[in-house]
Symmetry: C2
DNA sequence: AGCAATACTTGTCATTTGGCAAGTGCATCG
DNA sequence: CGATGCACTTGCCAAATGACAAGTATTGCT
């Protein structure tokens, strides 16, 4: 058993998990790989994998009634990936989660996660903390939808998360920002010309 | 001690809490009242009250840099009210929560909630469940922002939550739907004339 | 009752954005 | 190496929405 895996480093970095507990948690995770374009989750399925993404990028998206893809989440490496409502409420997901690049990861099932939560209070608190962080991030994104222009949202994403633009095509970023790809293209042109 | 308070009925209705545990939980809550317009939480303060709203309506809102109010949440009676990120992350809230009508409620502090979570696993699960439900609802709202027209969002709110329109002024509903009050007024006119 | 504040509507006009179609450049693949 | 596909851009026009201002209605207060 390794003592310094990406997952263990991630757990320790939170400041909420001690080293022996981190090692025990890591033991429960199984390594997983995803080819580019492979799915972690498909619409209609149950999200039953709590995934720690070690390498690569993923995105979540939903389909509108007319079949248009809307990007709902962008997952960078060193992040937890799963569909909260399907996973915890045990019902079919309305979203897809797909690898944007080849990915390496570690995952456990819902049952295994709950077992860890039960036996390791530290990890339970960690899980709640992640949930709250995700909630807060989503609220901030929602607020920016209402209060900022699409141009401001684009500029902000570019400033705070420039790496995204290396791994996610603009058309997918566009729907994440709440505009069409044409509009995003126009917005980019405006910002180029100062 | 009462055996059939609104809070106890609410806990039992979730199907996750047994009667004796519900009674113990309810013991920890203190009754609270809010006059119309009174604040449960003000921007800059710490959200330190986990509130069960028994009677009345509240709303959450944030101020844009230009001082415009944006409604971020609408709370009906028989619902839990608190600002997730401030409450759990122990940092100042960027939002306000204000009574729209006179309210009766029951509340506990962060410390008291954690104590209950620690001693009553049922209630801990209940808390997580509420968090997940709120998360899922916010995701759905975000998706509707991107995929539906303002008119469709209004029609949907009117259909699914008509009571809101009895207690919340249209200008506040407008920003909740992501439009100005003028636009909402025009949308309403269109829908009147079929 | 009378006054003031607030909620809501409406008109006008500018701006943003979407829908569609075409065009360009790049990459993948046989 | 040529062909097909995809990502991105761009032009054109229509539709949706915002900003501002004015008008009406309603509410609340004294």
């Amino acid at each position: 058993m390794q003592e310094n895996t990406p997952l263990i480093r991630f757990l320790l970095a939170s400041g909420m998990i001690t080293a022996p507990v981190a090692a025990e948690i890591a033991l429960a995770f199984r390594p997983m790989e995803f080819a580019k374009e492979a799915f972690l989750l498909r619409e209609g399925q149950l999200s039953d994998c709590y995934l720690f993404l070690e390498q690569g990028w993923m995105r979540g998206y939903a389909l509108t009634p007319k079949g248009v893809e809307v990007t709902t989440a962008i997952y960078r490496p060193q992040q937890v990936v799963f569909e909260v409502s399907s996973f915890f409420q045990r019902r079919p997901s309305q979203e897809n989660i797909q690898a944007l690049t080849p990915c390496k990861a570690s995952g456990i099932t819902f049952a295994e996660l709950n077992h860890l939560f039960h036996s390791l209070p530290e990890f339970r608190e960690f899980g709640r903390s992640r949930l709250v962080m995700g909630f807060a991030a989503l609220k901030a994104r929602m607020l920016s939808m209402v209060t900022e222009t699409a141009e401001a949202r684009y500029a902000s994403l570019l400033q705070h998360h420039p790496e995204i633009f290396q791994h996610v095509p603009l058309k997918q970023i566009a729907s994440y920002l709440g505009v069409t790809d044409s509009s995003l293209s126009r917005i980019r042109r405006e910002l180029m010309h100062h």
